[in-house]
Amino acid sequence: MGSKEICRNELRVAVRQLSDRCLYSASKWAAEQLVGIELDPVKFTPSNTRFQRGSSSIHRRFRNNEITSTPIAGVSYVSTPVMEEDDIVDGDFYLLAKSYFDCREYRRAAHVLRDQSGKKAVFLQCYALYLAGEKRKDEENIELEGPLGKSDAVNKELVSLERELSMLRKNGSIDPFGLYLYGLVLKEKGNEHLARNLLVESVNSYPWNWSAWSELQSLCTTIDILHSLPLNNHWMKDFFLAGAYQELRMHNESLAKYEYLQGTFSFSNYIQAQIAKVQYSLREFEQVEVIFEELLRNDPYRVEDMDMYSNVLYAKECFSALSYLAHRVFMTDKYRPESCCIIGNYYSLKGQHEKSVMYFRRALKLNKNCLSAWTLMGHEYIEMNNTPAAVDAYRRAVDINPCEYRAWYGLGQAYEMMGMPFYALHYFRKSVFLQPSDSRIWIAMAKCYEKDQLHMLEEAIKCYRKAANSNDREAIALHQLAKLHRELGRLEEAAFYYKKDLERMEAEERDGPNMVEALLFLATHCKDQKRFEEAEVYCTRLLDYTGPEKETAKSLLRGMRIAQSGFPSMSAEHFPP
């Protein structure tokens, strides 16, 4: 398949170019995708050797190939010519600077490059300065924690970088990497609009820089912004769109995109993990677990996204698997927010909430904006009955990302615990607005309405109906709907929902008091409606149970027989109240 070959070749060049510019996370990503492309057994040759001969031969190959690129599935892709390197032989200073950079001595690297004029050198110098500023900022954030939480640590290099980059741009001597850096700087300074434009420009001229795409993605906060971006139709755009859809909670669209991409990149761990993420949002835990098991088999030292796996294990209460995972990440890299979250989850599952909070705190120390850590910590505080602390933690999560529906839900829960159902409703409303397909939120909301203090049953019914329509796993909604309708004296509706509930319980082979209740109601209801046959069926089923209901069923049956055999009914009054 030609397209695979194109992708592979493009990525190969890109990995080299990206790591030449020390854009390591982008080159890591590109390399992962490169390996993720399914090998074509026919054409497969040990291709690595080709690349070591220098870049000129690659260029030639590309010029031949790009014309024949075949569109996949009706999408015509714009092929972007691979960028030509301006200086094939890197200068000595560049080599030195890169070595410094690789040793994380950013300022030194920048210093070495101070008088260099090549595009690559200029970029590396700026980038090194930027990273030096970032590093210092992080350190300062910890050093300076003033009273009242004053945290004004800023990247001190931003001003000079902006000046330099804007000058470069005016000269026209800026390359796509410079544009990316410029966008980054502007984003940090809060100039989002211009940042977006620059990033678009960057990815249009050099689409293989995943870091640029992900910065762009974080700037696309609404679907309208996303659609208004003038992006070229490169295959990298699919990755971008899939991620952006995911952020915008368009899970099904996102899933479709990823599955389509999997056609080409069938071995990509990244795509697998992303699919797992989407499935997690769709609450398909089984699938998530399967995916992660496979991921871990292929990539046992992976820490990224593993906190989500731990969430799944937590939800499924797999103690040993979770402890195994915690141990594994702990041995791999214990100072990662993900690792801390996993350990926190483990302690939480164990019921040791104080310890769990400690680990979430550590995760937050490592990354103050770690969304899931705030939320999970909120959950822990809820468990510990420390509602004000929980409220605080959730609120911080929400302030970091207002789309964090779990934290909104948590806030609602906290207030509900404090006996303020009306106040809690505000939060549930927020949450459900973000995640309208989650039956749990609808049910929580309905319960608030149902509370004695509010007693707004009509609203509760509406919520339960929503919950029942959006796959309610625990099947609470149907039962509640039936009960509420019965309370409100709407017997027909009650019967309808009892019947539905009954069917569902039969399908899932569940049993219990709900079953008895449903049967009893249906039996009496059918009898009152003179549908004796149906009533008999229900009564006989009730006979299988012990307890007072059995007796009731018997007397019902007796009454019906008498009624059917023509005697004037005197049995209706038989059953106990």
Partner: protein
């Protein structure tokens, strides 16, 4: 971080503190002689000491003064040494180039302090006592420095470097703006406001000059630098013990102005800097008051900007969110108000910020979320969601009961009362009855009235037992309002047999009003206790605040110089703004009460008292109401010309709030005038406009709706469409009855009587008039009663001359009330009716009693001409002409007849002259 509350104001070393230490070293260098080197006199030396003392007192700052600000402030000390001091300071600071220099500096500092073992202290040696204020400050600095980690020392060093750099850059201000940090932006806005500031200063200087001329004492510390104010507040009390207290407070205000004046004239840049944590809280409180007072006219963006800055500087100062909430609340931004409200309470758990509640008692694990509920109830109320408001408030009641927060409970009950009385009894009945509420536990059998009454009682009792003075007062007010507005049956009457007599009780109203004004005397006693640190800093900040651009805008809207001056000088009196607001409200309510009971002069007096004495602390809406009342009075007693002139000035004054109150008033006046002049088309148009102003929701804005439809009926009546008018009046009566607007019922009945009278159907009119009369009697509506009596008399009169006697007695019975309290129109009508009675009386002989008739007719004519009420004026002149005719005075007759003709012509020639007041 969650669960960890940082100790606010942890003491850490900052460049500002380092420079203070350096100055301290100059002040108390151990090996100097009696008067240390840079100082020429002992006094100068002491002044530096005072200055340092003031600076150390305000060291728990969030935002510290910059170096150049410090230097500018220090110029106050004296001229000769200051340059040396500044140079010394700058050179010392800029010589700190390595961490080791800092270490050495602080080691030196230790030498300034007298050691415990120093033993003998020579007389002429200056040694800092380690236990003095300055000594303690120095020790704290040294300790804090010693506690610093190496990173901390490095930070201090870089901060000092940039601190010094700003002195240089302040000479070239554009460079300082390049890095765009928040503080600089603030300064930028400061530059823009410079001119305005100077204006204010000039004014103040004039005032000070005037005071000087008047021979008043200017206290000695005129030249104390600004930051000493915290100190002055303390020390001044001893100093001013000699003169009367009032004077000294006045003086204090004057100085604070003089200070800022000096500061800005001496140096180019007198930076706006907020000081301690307390002062920021004080500032926020101040802003809160301002928002509440000015309502929607408060500049949204200016404050928003300010809050943004504050939040950047102090992300954990959550009260900022609360201010945001208030700000957006008053600018009708529902979404943002709701969002910020929730944010504030999520972060602070309601613990931070609410005064009057001792924080210690509230610091249990549960937080104070009931206050959140109370606030959200008020929010929904404000935005007109009564149902949600009731839900939130009932939840607040429950939660505060749960947490036994009686204070909040009392406030919540008061809020519910307010809600109930405001949203109209009508739709509340469905509301409270259906929802499960603690209010309902008294049984739904009670009418909503009675529920409200019981609630008010309950709330009052609670507030009294908790000694919440303000709440008690406002509850009394609410009670008075209740008594005023609601016609009661005795609460304890149940069952159908109980007497259905409806009454109002003016005595209760009066009692409640008195009780609520007692508040002010209570506060005099309490005042010393009420002033906390926070409000002191507020006072201090008043001056800064005044200079800022935003407040200068208000200056203009305040009525003339009078209030300017009074707000300068009356400010430090001990009665908090909220209290005087309450007392003012009682006057306003008094005015309304008198208006209803029918004493116009008393109503006017009370409104006048309000407008003059409480305008400063009143919210602009209340002030508009008071002015509205005054204008209405003018219209009724002095004619439209005066009223419109007054309206014009008031409109200018309330340019931003004019939307509702003033607009309604204007339309009312215009309508009235149009009716009198006989422009029925215009009247109808205005009437429609009035109707549009009310909210389309049923049960809301009932007063306005009733008014509009009442005026509609009157317009139809004036256009002689009697059956339509009667239909509208009927509908109005039904509506008023349904919504329990009893007072309106009475006037509607009177209107119906009037319609029947005009349509020539007097027999039908009489029962209506009688019904209205009995309503008025039981509701104590004296003036309305008089006018009903008058209508009744007119009805009788129109039944034929045999009833003239009866009519005359009726008129005579009503005349004292009408002449004492009635407006021009009513008086004129009474006069005409009286004259008519006399004329139609068979036993009446013209030549003998013509004096009586002519007298009253002349008066009527005068009054009606002021009102431009052509129809009645024509009638009066007609009668006059007839009388003259009977008397045989032909010349006068002709004169009256020509006047009659003039009015008739005016009535018929409906000129649609362009009214300048109508857009």
């Amino acid at each position: 971080m969650a669960g960890i509350l940082k100790v606010p104001g942890a003491f850490d070393v900052t460049p500002h503190k380092v420079s203070l230490c350096i100055l301290l070293q100059v002040y108390a260098s151990p090996n100097q002689l009696f008067v240390p080197f840079p100082f020429s006199s002992f006094a100068q030396h002491n002044r530096l000491g005072l200055f340092l003392l003031a600076l150390t007192k305000s060291c728990d700052d969030i935002l510290e003064p910059k170096l150049h600000e410090l230097i500018n402030q220090s110029r106050e000390i004296g001229s000769s040494s200051i340059d040396w001091l500044a140079d010394h300071l700058i050179s010392r600071l800029s010589s700190l180039s390595s961490p080791d220099d800092l270490f050495n500096l602080f080691t030196e500092m230790r030498g300034v302090l007298a050691g415990q073992d120093a033993g003998i202290v020579e007389d002429d040696q200056i040694i800092l006592d380690p236990n003095s204020n300055l000594g303690i400050f120095l020790r704290r600095c040294i300790l804090a420095f010693n506690l610093l980690s190496f990173e901390g020392v490095c930070h201090l060093l870089t901060n000092i470097a940039s601190y010094c750099k700003e002195v240089l850059s302040s000479r070239a201000p554009h460079e300082a703006h390049l890095d765009g940090s928040g503080v600089n932006l603030m300064e930028a806005s400061e530059y823009e406001n410079m001119d305005l500031e100077n204006l204010v200063f000039e004014k103040v200087t004039e005032e000070i000059e005037a005071k000087k001329k008047a021979g008043e004492r200017i206290p000695f510390h005129l030249h104390v630098p600004t930051p000493i104010f915290g100190l002055v507040e303390d020390t001044d009390i001893e100093l001013s013990a000699k003169p009367t207290f009032k004077q000294s407070t006045k003086g204090k205000e004057a100085i604070s102005y003089a200070m800022t004046l000096d500061g800005s004239s001496g140096a180019v840049d007198h930076g706006f800097f907020l000081r301690s944590n307390w002062q920021i809280q004080g500032y926020l409180l101040e802003q809160t008051d301002a928002i509440e007072k000015h309502g929607s006219s408060f500049p949204l963006n200016a404050l928003e900007f300010m809050l943004g800055q504050l939040q950047k500087l102090a992300p954990e100062l959550h009260r900022v969110h609360f201010l945001r909430y208030l700000n957006s609340l008053y600018h009708d931004d529902y979404a943002s108000a709701l969002e910020n409200l929730h944010k504030y309470f999520d972060y602070s758990a309601g613990i931070e910020g609410f005064d009057g509640i001792p924080p210690s008692s509230g610091f249990n694990n549960s937080g104070r979320y009931e206050i959140a509920l109370l606030c959200s109830g008020m929010l929904h109320f404000h935005f007109g969601h009564p149902k949600q408001a009731v839900e939130a408030l009932t939840e607040a009641v429950r939660v505060s009961q749960q947490h036994s927060n009686d204070t909040c409970l009392a406030y919540t009950l008061a809020a519910i009362c307010n809600l109930l009385s405001e949203i109209g009894i009508s739709n509340a009945s469905g509301l409270l009855g259906s929802s499960y509420s603690p209010v309902a536990n008294m049984g739904t059998s009670l009418s909503i009235h009675q529920q409200l009454f019981v609630l008010l009682k309950e709330s009052l009792k609670r507030a009294e037992s908790l000694k919440l003075k303000r709440l008690v007062a406002s509850n009394h007010l609410a009670m008075a309002k209740f008594h005023l507005m609601h016609v009661q049956r005795p609460v304890l009457s149940f069952g159908p047999k109980a007497s259905m007599k409806l009454i109002t009780s003016p005595i209760n109203v009066c009692k409640e009003l008195r009780l609520s004004s007692n508040l002010i005397s209570d506060f005099d006693i309490e005042s010393s206790m009420m002033i906390t640190d926070g409000s002191l800093s507020t006072t201090w900040l008043k001056n800064l605040h005044r200079q800022r651009g935003s407040s200068v805008i208000f200056e203009e809207t305040e009525p003339g110089n009078r209030s300017n001056a009074s707000s300068f000088f009356s400010q430090p009196n001990s009665i908090p703004g909220s209290v005087s607001q309450l007392v003012g409200a009682s006057y306003l309510l008094r005015a309304t009460a008198w208006e209803m009971y029918g004493s116009a002069p008393l109503a006017r007096m009370n409104a006048l008292v309000y407008a003059t004495c409480f305008a400063d602390c009143a919210s602009s809406v209340d002030a508009a109401v008071a002015y509205g009342k005054l204008i209405q009075y003018l219209a009724a007693y002095k004619g439209y010309k005066a009223a419109f002139a007054a309206l014009k000035t008031v409109e200018e004054k309330f340019i931003s709030v004019s939307k509702s109150q003033i607009m309604v008033l204007k339309l009312q006046l215009l309508h009235e005038r149009a009716l009198h002049r006989g422009h029925s088309k215009l009247a109808q148009q205005i009437c429609d406009e009035l109707a549009v102003l009310s909210s389309p929701v049923t049960g809301v804005d009932m007063d306005l709706k009733a008014e509009a439809s009442f005026r509609h009926a009157r317009t139809l009546l004036a256009a002689k469409q009697f059956s339509e008018a009667a239909a509208v009046a009927h509908a109005l009566f039904c509506m008023c009855y349904k919504f329990n607007l009893r007072v309106q019922d009475a006037s509607t009945l009177l209107l119906l009587a009037e319609i029947h009278k005009k349509s020539g159907n007097a027999v039908l009119g009489i029962p209506y008039a009688l019904a209205s009369l009995s309503f008025c009697e039981s509701f104590n509506l004296d003036l309305l009663k008089a006018s009903a009596t008058l209508t009744l008399a007119e009805l009788w009169l129109s039944l034929g001359s045999i009833h003239a006697k009866r009519a005359l007695t009726l008129i005579h019975s009503a005349l004292p009330m009408i002449l004492g309290h009635g407006g021009l129109e009513l008086r004129a009508r009474a006069h005409i009716a009286e004259a008519k009675c006399h004329l139609s009386d068979a036993s009446f002989s013209v030549p003998e009693t013509s004096g009586v008739v002519l007298d009253s007719l002349r008066q009527a004519c005068d009054e009606l001409q002021i009102l431009e009420y052509h129809e009645l004026a024509a009638e009066a002149f007609y009668l006059m002409a007839i009388t003259f005719d009977k008397m045989g005075q032909l010349e006068e007759r002709e004169q009256a007849a020509s006047s009659f003709q003039k009015h008739i012509m005016a009535l018929e020639k409906v000129t649609d002259e362009e009214d300048p007041l109508l857009k």
